[in-house]
């Protein structure tokens, strides 16, 4: 009952975003498991390759988004790719926010030289476009899922760190913190139990918005061959694999982008709605704003 009331209280855009993300997640988990088309194995290439969307193969099976050059169904593959793309995006964004919160909290709480070093590091990394940082890092280490996640976290912590630092530094001198310290609460515990819960709202907003960026940046790296490697499908490397048939069979490259766009729009709308809910004192331009994309 409580949940129904909560759901009804949301505006239409937020409801649609949640529904889209849930549908995509469920589809990514279930569709490859129950579909009759095998998304990885290469079957009868001659009769099935590069079928346009909504067409049937000689065996009579319908291909909603068409097939790729190996005759594999693009819809089932897109859903399989969603598993990796969504997981990498969410884990990358959460790790980045966790690292940023930890660094920002320590910097804001301790102040002094630690604060200055941490913020200089953040400023330095913010001065390089995130894509350039990602490219350099991803290209220098062995490409793969772990590399992408680590690199997303390593290049995404700065915005959250600066926000949390400002919140913690402001909260540190509030009376309730002084009261807790006067009652004998040790510093670490005061930070964890009293300061952080008051500072965590902006970090959650940044994480939600960050999922969209992370999904998009992962697809960009995979598109350039520096991210998730085939045969494991991700939305980015599926788009890349359709690149050389873009002139004759554009759906191979374009279809996987639809799931990607829906994911990014939904994550952005959810982040915006969340920001409006928590009194809206999170800066719109929380980090590098327009450069957090691919």
């Amino acid at each position: 009952m409580k949940y129904v009331r909560f759901w009804r209280g949301l505006d239409r855009a937020t409801q649609a975003s949640i529904a889209a993300l849930v549908l995509l997640t469920v589809g990514a988990v279930l569709v490859p498991a129950v579909a009759s088309h095998d998304p990885i194995a290469i079957g009868d290439v001659i009769t099935r390759r590069l079928l346009p969307p909504l067409s049937r193969d000689p065996a009579g099976a319908l291909h909603v988004l068409g097939t790729d050059r190996f005759g594999r169904d693009l819809f089932v593959r897109m859903m399989l790719a969603g598993r990796l793309s969504l997981a990498v995006g969410i884990v990358g964004s959460v790790l980045a926010a966790a690292a940023g919160s930890a660094i920002g909290a320590v910097a804001g709480w301790r102040g002094g030289i630690i604060d200055r070093v941490a913020m200089a590091a953040a400023d330095t990394m913010l001065a390089v476009p995130r894509l350039v940082l990602l490219l350099v890092c991803a290209a220098l280490w062995q490409p793969g899922i772990t590399t992408v996640v680590v690199v997303l976290a390593a290049t995404g912590w700065m915005g959250v760190a600066r926000m949390i630092r400002a919140e913690v530094a402001a909260a540190r001198v509030r009376p309730y913190v002084e009261a807790a310290r006067a009652l004998g609460v040790p510093g670490g515990r005061a930070l964890w139990r009293h300061v952080l819960p008051n500072a965590i709202g902006p970090a959650i907003v940044a994480t939600t918005l960050g999922v969209g960026s992370a999904v998009m940046l992962e697809s960009g790296l995979s598109f350039l061959g520096l991210g998730i490697q085939p045969p494991a499908p991700s939305w980015g490397n599926m788009i890349a694999s359709g690149r050389d048939v873009i002139v004759s069979a554009p759906w191979v490259a374009l279809a996987p982008g639809l799931a990607l766009i829906v994911t990014v729009v939904a994550a952005t709308l959810l982040g915006d709605a969340w920001r409006d809910r928590i009194a809206g004192d999170v800066p719109v331009v929380a980090s590098r704003g327009l450069s957090e994309r691919a």
Partner: protein
């Protein structure tokens, strides 16, 4: 004040240079593997490493490289048989031209769009344009670029576009033709349409998103109501009162948009096969051409830092409230 800002930017630039150097040199992988034939003996590989200075300790490499950088010398490319400065100078005009054209159009379209959305807030115009800008801004650059290529190749063939609407989808000029003067420039301009449209569409969608937010906040302030109450027309209030107050926010937005254009141009140059900085960076990364990767990263960082510095210095000029009283 100005001196402090400039000094801060210089220190930041040096930190970035050091960071990128550390990232590139501490990573695993040996660039000489790509430069020698498979038949090379270990002695020959060692001689090449010595020639490139890769046999020295990292600290020595950094000191030498930093000293050379101060003289404006970024070293020799491992793979291209030319200096890094030469390679960057050849590629930069293409990226700068593409970037500047897109940046100008981005603001020329994005800001009025944001103003339109804010002034019709909640109504059909605002809702429809907001849906479009959200979707365009959510599309990856390379996807939008490929979609445009598809429209003007596959689409032009299946739909039978009239010849005037057929745009060249790939490359920077028509291969096989030796054009000169204005016809050559016109040829490049025709090839530039799709790359510029791609960057502009995404940039304008992003700028509109932030500008709308900015304008919505402004429209609720008291001075807007006061101006309307004094009898100023809607359009005059927007043009004189709201826009003047929005300028500082737009200057900050400019500094934020520049790195986005940089990132976008990497993909646009890759998809449309334009030989600019983005393509140079990608091929240098693939070949572990350290000096070029370093040079290109420094170039990008310098552009971002300069844009931020320019925004910082311009703010007090545009917004009297930001001027500090100096004693």
């Amino acid at each position: 004040m100005v001196v402090r800002r400039v000094a801060g930017a210089a220190v930041l630039f040096w930190l970035v240079v050091t960071l990128v150097f550390a990232l590139v040199r501490l990573a695993p992988g040996d660039p000489t593997v790509f430069l020698v034939p498979p038949s090379a003996t270990p002695v020959e590989v060692e001689r090449l490493r010595a020639n490139l200075g890769l046999d020295r300790p990292v600290a020595v490499q950094y000191a030498r490289w930093a000293a050379a950088l101060l003289r404006g010398d970024m070293g020799e490319s491992f793979a291209l048989r030319q200096t890094v400065s030469r390679a960057l100078a050849d590629a930069a005009p293409i990226s700068i031209g593409l970037g500047l054209a897109s940046l100008l159009l981005t603001f020329a379209i994005g800001v009025p769009l944001g103003l339109l959305q804010a002034s019709t807030r909640g109504r059909a115009t605002d809702r429809a344009t907001t849906v479009v800008t959200a979707a365009v801004f959510a599309a990856p650059t390379f996807w939008l670029a490929l979609a445009l290529v598809a429209v003007f190749t596959y689409g032009a063939a299946t739909l039978g576009l009239p010849s005037a609407l057929r745009l060249p989808a790939l490359g920077i000029h028509t291969p096989g033709l030796s054009l000169s003067g204005w016809t050559a420039a016109a040829d490049v301009a025709r090839h530039a349409i799709l790359p510029v449209v791609t960057l502009t569409a995404i940039g304008a969608a992003g700028v509109a998103r932030y500008a709308r937010h900015n304008f919505v906040d402004l429209l609720e302030l008291d001075f807007v109501r006061a101006a309307r109450a004094r009898g100023a027309s809607r359009s005059r209030v927007l043009a004189r009162h709201v826009t003047a107050n929005a300028l500082p926010g737009l200057v900050v937005l400019f500094a934020l948009t520049l790195p986005g254009v940089v990132a976008g141009s990497v993909f646009v140059e890759s998809v449309f096969a334009w030989p600019g900085l983005g393509r140079l960076t990608l091929s240098a990364i693939a070949a572990r051409d350290y000096p070029v990767v370093l040079g290109a990263s420094i170039w990008y960082a310098a552009a971002v830092i300069l844009a931020n510095l320019a925004a910082d210095l311009a703010l007090p000029l545009l917004d009297p409230r930001q001027r500090q009283v100096t004693r």
